[in-house]
Subunit: 123 residues, 2 copies
């Protein structure tokens, strides 16, 4: 991932409606959601949502597929991983133990806490 692409992704997420859209799509997984449902769930007008969805799509954070009259959007989680890698690239100049990022829960764990255990507190 190059800087230009990273900026596009970050800028796409740095907006209230778009961040909400993305997180909603992350929750809905590969199945995704039609634009209409997203608009309804978030209470934004269809035209405004469409604007934001295209921003997210241009940044590669969501993908779309048509299903009849609806267009289903879903999150591209892999791009998020790339973004993370880019942001934290070569941390501590090859001595990652210095920043302690490996010692505590990594992003995926924070992302997907197992629904079975609730008493999950990070010390």
């Amino acid at each position: 991932m190059e800087q230009k692409h990273a900026i596009a992704a970050l800028a796409a997420l740095a907006q209230d409606s778009r961040l909400a859209v993305f997180r909603l799509l992350v929750r809905s997984g590969p199945a995704g959601l039609p634009a209409g449902e997203i608009a309804q769930a978030l209470g934004v007008q269809p035209a405004t949502l469409s604007f934001h969805l295209s921003q997210l799509a241009n940044a590669g954070l969501v993908e779309s597929r048509r299903d009849g009259r609806s267009i289903i959007y879903s999150a591209e989680v892999a791009v998020m991983k790339e973004l993370m890698g880019f942001l934290l690239h070569d941390c501590c100049d090859g001595h990652p133990e210095l920043c302690g990022i490996l010692e505590t829960a990594p992003a995926p764990a924070a992302c997907c806490p197992p629904s079975t255990s609730k008493g999950n507190r990070t010390s």
Copy 2:
């Protein structure tokens, strides 16, 4: 982490100079770098850099400490982790295996590839 804070962090990173600053500080680890060196390394004017550094600091992405006449900035990697967790919260509605995020290298691994092993099997 709340949405407001996440937006602030994302917006702070969604800018060329600031993203470069942050990644430079990630590389320099807890030791950090004085503002002057950052300005020189990136070729931005001190006043402009100061503006960007305060944006990053307000977002909690960097911290500063004084060392004589210099002010040393360093990256707050922990905040990045929180941000990741927030962005990918409850992915796939409790079925993270669906998006495959757990199966490949997580963000920290991408961040800090162990210098010893390179065998990274991503399908």
